[in-house]
Subunit: 228 residues, 2 copies
Amino acid sequence: MPTARERVRAELTTEIADAARRQLAEVGAAALSLRAVAREVGMASSAVYRYFPSRDDLLTRLIIDGYDAIGAAVEAADDTAAPPEERWSAVCSAVRDWARAHPHEYALLYGSPVPGYVAPRDTVPAASRVGIVLGRILGDAARAGRLTGDGGGREPGLLGDAAVEVLGQGHPAVDDAVRVRALLAWSALFGTVSFELFGQLVGSVEDGDRYFALVTAELARLVGFRPA
Amino acid sequence: MPTARERVRAELTTEIADAARRQLAEVGAAALSLRAVAREVGMASSAVYRYFPSRDDLLTRLIIDGYDAIGAAVEAADDTAAPPEERWSAVCSAVRDWARAHPHEYALLYGSPVPGYVAPRDTVPAASRVGIVLGRILGDAARAGRLTGDGGGREPGLLGDAAVEVLGQGHPAVDDAVRVRALLAWSALFGTVSFELFGQLVGSVEDGDRYFALVTAELARLVGFRPA
DNA sequence: ACTCGAACGAGAGCACCGCTCTCGTCGAGA
DNA sequence: TCTCGACGAGAGCGGTGCTCTCGTTCGAGT
């Protein structure tokens, strides 16, 4: 059971993180100032260091929270009773919607890493949640016979254990070629969202919604989902 | 003809930009310090402002130079005499190689935009070079009958004029569905490179070279290139 | 119940940053 | 030759991350 001191410490820690998240949403990660956060919560800047050893640690907290937030949004959007194609497009839309609602947080998660900053191991589980949802859709589709597989096999040394475990595990309809296509679809999804968010498609795409719908359908075809 | 004064001014401008590029390669964009650049070229920091009105203008110069550099690399890698599939994979590899050789520059170009920074119009032509090469490959393939098109048509309001002009123009084998797939392949290419560079694929992909080769082949299939 | 040490908040200070202003110099065109 | 603009240097302003020191306060062990 936590003592009173630990409780108020935890409260203050989340209060600082919340203020930091508000500032992140306003000015972005690179302009996030620990001193301004301290001002917002009414502390001396030096006092914040009792709770976060450095600005990078504060950012790490925001990164983990961000991965958890987009992971939760994606999980909530995945209706496991729906057919794979619909689940796939729902998950894609959830990613895009979350990114558009939280552009600075998205940039912090999937944009250029802050220079000199290396993600601690703590971020890995939270960061995996989106990929795990995709893997679950893939696995369910394979079990339901809704996945067009090559029926090939493993290509040793190509993929890591994490990818194999998440993507289909040992199901015969999911070989390494399918896994590569799934990773490609995942990368393409985030590439598309990033391009839209970072303005790389300005002048080329007029109707972002329609374009994105076509892209998700194309990616579903690539992964191998097929209608019942 | 430029006066001596203009000449030495231009020289000093590029010398500052070169020093900034060196520092960019070392510490990244967010940590790029105008004062440090000034120290490297042996000036007072205030003197640099005679050549670049602000740090953002210096970054803009680096961005334009970066787009030109990756554009030149891609153009050099495109052998117009080769079959479309080979040209496509060569261009993809050129993008990846340039990105791995200049990670901080790549992050500056295709990562999160520096907060508060909006790309001036000057950057657009340089930024378009890579896309133009892709469009040229697509158009050549269509003219040579090496492109599997839907034979559909335009979808008004979906794509911008820039995309239509660069991607296939009016060739019947290139309709808007093909253009969407080309844009998707373009986004997927940069999504893949970004994920590799920013560490999002750590643990999932062991052999980056083989994975990338498979990805480019898959994307070529997606775009519709077919062997002779 | 008391004590002692750890946790805490505040303040001053260091080195650095982007940027502005002023001032002396120097050189090219009128 | 004179003049005015371009130039470089320096000081300075407000901001940053981070450290150190100093009282205070609170809680756990005796």
